[in-house]
């Protein structure tokens, strides 16, 4: 537009000077500029009538996996000598291949397409608008506008693969699974001995017990293994999140929750998710791969948030979780949360707290600073760190005292390793089982 104005002013300057001096030569010198203007005006484009369709290679992709966005363009209007189409890529996505724009010539009824590849961090990325700019070849007359070409890309969170996790809720469900149910029946682990009943398999008869009692036989009982209800709670309260540079403690909590959900679902359990922070974002309990997708999508959407109502955990909807089921809370924790956790425990829930350590997380940053400038203030920081660590340790100890299993996770350590050492039932190789003979 400024070019058109500039050129027009030059032409008018020549005409004005020519008329003022009554010199035809001056007017003649303006001729190339005038012809240029006229040519641009004659070929100036109409308002573009474009029909654009967006195609995604996959609407949902794994963390850091590439997704290809293809735009199909159909010109339903007059010929467009030059049209620039620029896709507005949502913030957070990185273009790894191709370009999100194309400059094309489109004949009337012509079709074209262009594509580019993006990758991104966990999240939901809605694509909305495409900027169009059509002009003639000389670029003086231009039509600019926006076209709404909706699309959506969801990047699932990074999931840390975990082995079977050993949990023991008070109540299990009716289907066979890997969790000891505290009930006698068919299983592998020894549970007790009862009097022999007709129909019991002979190999279950406890001959040693029978030898001690005349005319009575005893049968071994095994602990039934069932699936359980597992409720995952992800703490998304803004105040509990610690952000150091580009790294956020919440992101670690998300990937841990994703790993836990996957592990519990792989074991056949019924798993639900509650994201507690901005509000209550619930994924109702379910089984299998579909539930895995639901949970992953909920985690992809999860954001920290501030809410006066949900500032404390007092409004945790306990009824969301079946009675006496397993609850897993992923939270950095704060002092006020102890009461609600204690109440949950008192109601018969088996509570497991996985607490990404905010003190250690923040301390890393201070440690880096301390090495960068060894100034006098560092001793104060060290002291503050020690006090905070002690406070946190005391808080965790109080939780353990009420029977809550707490895993203090320093996020620089691999989550699977931490979980393995804390929860995974050790498998003893058969050659290392020592039989104690009396």
């Amino acid at each position: 537009m400024r070019r058109l104005l500039f050129l027009s002013l030059l032409v008018y300057g020549f005409i004005f000077a020519g008329l003022m001096t009554l010199s035809g030569n001056v007017l003649a010198l303006a001729m190339p500029l005038v012809i240029y203007l006229i040519a641009a005006f004659v070929y100036s484009p109409d308002k573009p009538k474009l029909m654009i369709t967006r195609r995604m290679s996959a609407p949902i992709v794994q963390h850091d996996a590439p997704a290809t966005v293809t735009l199909l363009i159909h010109n339903q209007g007059e010929q467009l000598e030059e049209v620039l189409l620029e896709d507005m890529v949502p913030q957070g996505l990185t273009i790894t291949d191709g370009e999100a724009w194309a400059q094309l010539t489109l004949p009337a009824g012509g079709k074209a397409e262009f594509s580019y590849t993006v990758t991104g961090q966990r999240g939901n990325y809605p694509f909305r608008y495409l900027r169009t700019s059509a002009n003639e070849h000389l670029g003086l007359f231009r039509h600019q506008g926006w076209l709404e070409v909706a699309g959506n890309l969801m990047v699932l969170p990074e999931s840390r693969r975990l082995e079977h996790l050993d949990i023991r809720p008070l109540r299990t469900r009716g289907y066979a699974g890997p969790i000891p149910s505290r009930l006698a029946g068919s299983g592998t682990d020894f549970f007790g001995v009862r009097e022999y009943q007709l129909g019991d398999p002979l190999r279950w008869i406890n001959w040693r017990a029978g030898a001690r009692h005349q005319h009575t036989l005893f049968t071994n009982e095994f602990e039934m293994e069932r699936i359980a209800d597992v409720g995952l709670i992800l703490d998304a309260r803004q105040n509990n999140n610690v952000v150091v540079g580009n790294d956020s403690l919440f992101e670690h909590a998300i990937s841990a929750t994703a790993g836990l959900a996957e592990a519990f679902l792989n074991d056949g359990n019924r798993v639900g998710l509650l994201v507690y922070g901005r509000g209550l974002e619930m994924t109702y309990p379910g089984y299998g791969k579909v539930q895995r997708e639901h949970i992953m999508q909920a985690l992809a959407h999860a954001r920290t948030g501030d809410s006066l109502v949900f500032e404390s955990m007092d409004y945790l909807p306990v009824r969301f979780f079946p009675a006496k089921s397993q609850i897993v809370l992923v939270s950095p924790l704060r002092e006020e949360d102890l009461s609600i956790l204690t109440r949950l425990r008192a109601r018969g829930y088996q509570v497991l707290v996985i607490s990404p350590d905010p003190v250690a997380f923040e301390a890393q940053q201070y440690a880096l600073k301390a090495t960068a400038d060894a100034s006098a203030g560092d001793t104060g920081v060290q002291l503050a760190l020690r006090i905070t660590r002690v406070e946190r340790e005391l808080m965790l100890r109080r939780l353990r005292r009420v029977g809550i299993q707490v895993i203090n996770w320093q996020v620089d350590q691999p989550f699977d390793k931490v979980m393995r050492s804390a929860l995974v039932r050790p498998v003893i190789p058969t050659n290392r089982i020592v039989r104690i003979e009396r």
């Binding site: 030059l10 007017l27 190339p32 070849h137």
Partner: protein, 189 residues
């Protein structure tokens, strides 16, 4: 960003047209023994080349303004009009191509090892871009040739304008200007 690269036809034509514009104006002024004008146009031409090298958009406008003002003054001081016409036409080509290159976002990769820049460079080389480049050059060549032809004709055909004709031309110019302003307002809305 380096635009003066022998790789691109457009960039090459732009450099040549700058040199032609400078040479035509300098020759016109030189033949009329206006040596200060020669020096000024050589300086302006060099400055414009530097502006092209570093892709400074403002230099395009300044360059064309300088050359057209020089041509206008030259016409008033009696410099041979042929040189001035060629100078203006060449300056117009340079101005157009300078904007065209910036518009097409083309740039020679500064770092040969930079994969990103190489990819952008390869992108430019795709067929679509080359077709646009060809179409632009064709249109520009036609427009410049027509401008030179009509300008040359206007310089050779002598007409004496009466006051009434001048008045009508003036009114047409004012009408055209008002139409242009209206168009620009519509576009900005």
């Amino acid at each position: 960003m380096n635009l003066s690269t022998p790789v691109f036809t457009v960039a090459r034509i732009m450099t040549i047209s700058t040199l032609v514009a400078t040479a035509a104006m300098a020759l016109g002024y030189g033949l009329n023994e206006q040596f200060l004008g020669v020096l000024l146009f050589i300086a302006l031409g060099l400055l414009w080349l530097v502006g092209q090298r570093y892709a400074v958009q403002a230099f395009a406008g300044l360059g064309l303004l300088g050359f057209t003002t020089g041509a206008l003054l030259g016409a008033l001081y009696g410099i041979a009009n042929g040189w001035l016409l060629v100078g203006i036409a060449a300056a117009l080509v340079t101005w157009d191509l300078h904007h065209f290159i910036l518009h097409m976002r083309v740039a020679e990769p500064e770092d040969a090892d930079n994969a990103e820049a190489n990819r952008a460079f390869a992108n430019f080389r795709n067929e679509n871009m080359r077709a646009l480049e060809r179409a632009h050059l064709q249109r520009l060549a036609l427009v410049t040739a027509a401008g030179l032809l009509l300008g040359g004709l206007a310089l050779t055909i002598r007409l004496t304008l009466r006051f009434g004709v001048v008045l009508v031309l003036g009114l047409v110019a004012i009408f055209g200007l008002s139409r242009l302003i209206r168009y620009l307002r519509q576009e900005s809305d």
